[in-house]
Symmetry: C2
Subunit: 278 residues, 2 copies
């Protein structure tokens, strides 16, 4: 292997509609249950060997704890270039995507011999230990419209999916701290999330997922004003929209947001989990 | 819903490199362990409601038992149009793909409320009961380069994957009866398959998967002359090739077959599992 060798992975974005938080002493069994959508808008992560670790997001140097955790776990230093279609901190799973993409690409560049499940576990643990998320990584490794039936990394967590494919629109009004919410008192949130999950499993369709997510956002007390206004506009016009957990963002099915005057980003549900480019 | 409504699913092809067969009294827990590749060449399945079931493959009416099983399990009659990039009976998992595509598309057309895992189980059971395969359906639902760690449908089976992406070439010399092999004495085959699996899990890389598959083909006594000749040509030239289980077909990484004078079909590993089109 030469210093010129690089590898690039794509990881889809992931918006969670509802969730419940489950903490244990072990980050691999810690995680969340819930439902969400993976998105064709996502993150490309390119890894190249380097004397010292340096992480760039869209060409600007940043600190990104979950990515550093992944490199430490692999035992390497590298230059990591993250190119994101999605805003950071707005509920699209960019930190999980960066961690998972780094795991996949660095395994290739450094001739690693981890399996996909092992790389997903590594990224999940990095995300949990950094306090940046509980369920994005396993969802992004799966693709589609993931239902997180049991929390945790592969071997512990259990995933299912809603069989569907849809156009998705989204708008964002800014950040919301994931750590503040998931490290606070999550009792009410988790009760609401568990109820939504059991109803989604009864009828795993996309409109049902969005409706249950909307109810969850209200019950968990997470709605912020701009988000509530946008959701109400879409639903008043007969569309389906809800809030991205955890961000000041709204996503809608079909043309839900554009029909009521927003200028949304447009993408689709993404059928595939994270993958390397060849 | 009107009679005009249709839905279409894409299911990637799947070549198994090595496997072991595991039978129980329950088709959901029956299956295979092993390793293989899903392919960007695959099968599109379109389902439309119809008074009587009719199944067409590439425009010609056929009987396809696993597809009929799926429709029976859903409790519907339908017109099923299967459009395949791949030959039938040659080890590319076309029957599994047809069953899985029918499950996904009919759930959409008939407003079903099954989850993806439930639809995969339905197609897996249909395939096992028809004797046409043991592990293609779960691999095709996953995508990538699946390692079947434990046999059976979701909830029973366990999957992992080789983190990679590759160009794949393949040639086929004709059919081989899956039923004859998997319903015969599989003791030797299963011993060889279990050994290959444990070595692949030690080092889950693509060249290792191909090498272990080649050893498996010899040990299990499944090589036929044209297949052996093609594999030897590729490996003599420094390439990696092996036999598709179960068919008179050879697949190679990169330009393995074209470099030694074959005129292969060319595709790629497919990052995604089976999915609906929107």
């Amino acid at each position: 292997m030469t210093d010129e060798s690089t590898a690039t992975a794509f990881v889809p974005g992931h918006v969670t509609g509802f969730f419940s938080a489950h903490r244990t002493d072990d980050p691999a069994t810690t995680g969340s249950r819930g439902g969400g959508l993976t998105l064709s808008d996502g993150v490309r992560v390119t890894v190249a060997p380097a004397e010292r670790t340096r992480i760039d997001l869209d060409g600007r140097r940043i600190e990104m704890t979950p990515v550093e955790h992944v490199l430490d776990a692999v035992g390497v230093t590298a230059r990591v270039a993250i190119d994101s279609d999605l805003p950071v901190g707005a509920g699209f799973g960019v930190s999980g995507a960066a961690a998972l993409g780094t795991a996949l690409a660095s395994n290739t560049v450094f001739d690693g011999d981890r399996s996909e499940n092992e790389l997903v576990e590594l990224a999940h643990v990095a995300e949990v230990e950094s306090g940046t998320g509980l369920g994005d990584v396993v969802a992004q490794a799966r693709g589609g419209v993931p239902i997180r039936v049991e929390p945790g990394a592969p071997g512990h967590g259990v995933l299912d999916g809603v069989p569907t494919s849809a156009r998705v629109e989204y708008v964002t009004f800014g950040e919301l701290s994931t750590a503040e919410v998931i490290e606070g008192d999550t009792t009410r949130l988790t009760e609401a999330g568990e109820r939504a999950l059991s109803e989604l499993r009864e009828r795993p369709t996309l409109p049902n997922l969005i409706r249950l997510s909307r109810r969850f956002a209200r019950e968990a007390g997470l709605l912020v004003p701009e988000v509530e206004t946008a959701i109400d506009s879409v639903t008043d016009a007969g569309g389906e929209a809800t809030m991205a957990m955890l961000g000041r963002s709204v996503f809608a099915l079909g043309t839900g947001l554009s029909e009521v005057g927003y200028d949304p980003n447009v993408c689709e549900t993404y059928p595939s989990g994270a993958h390397l480019y060849r």
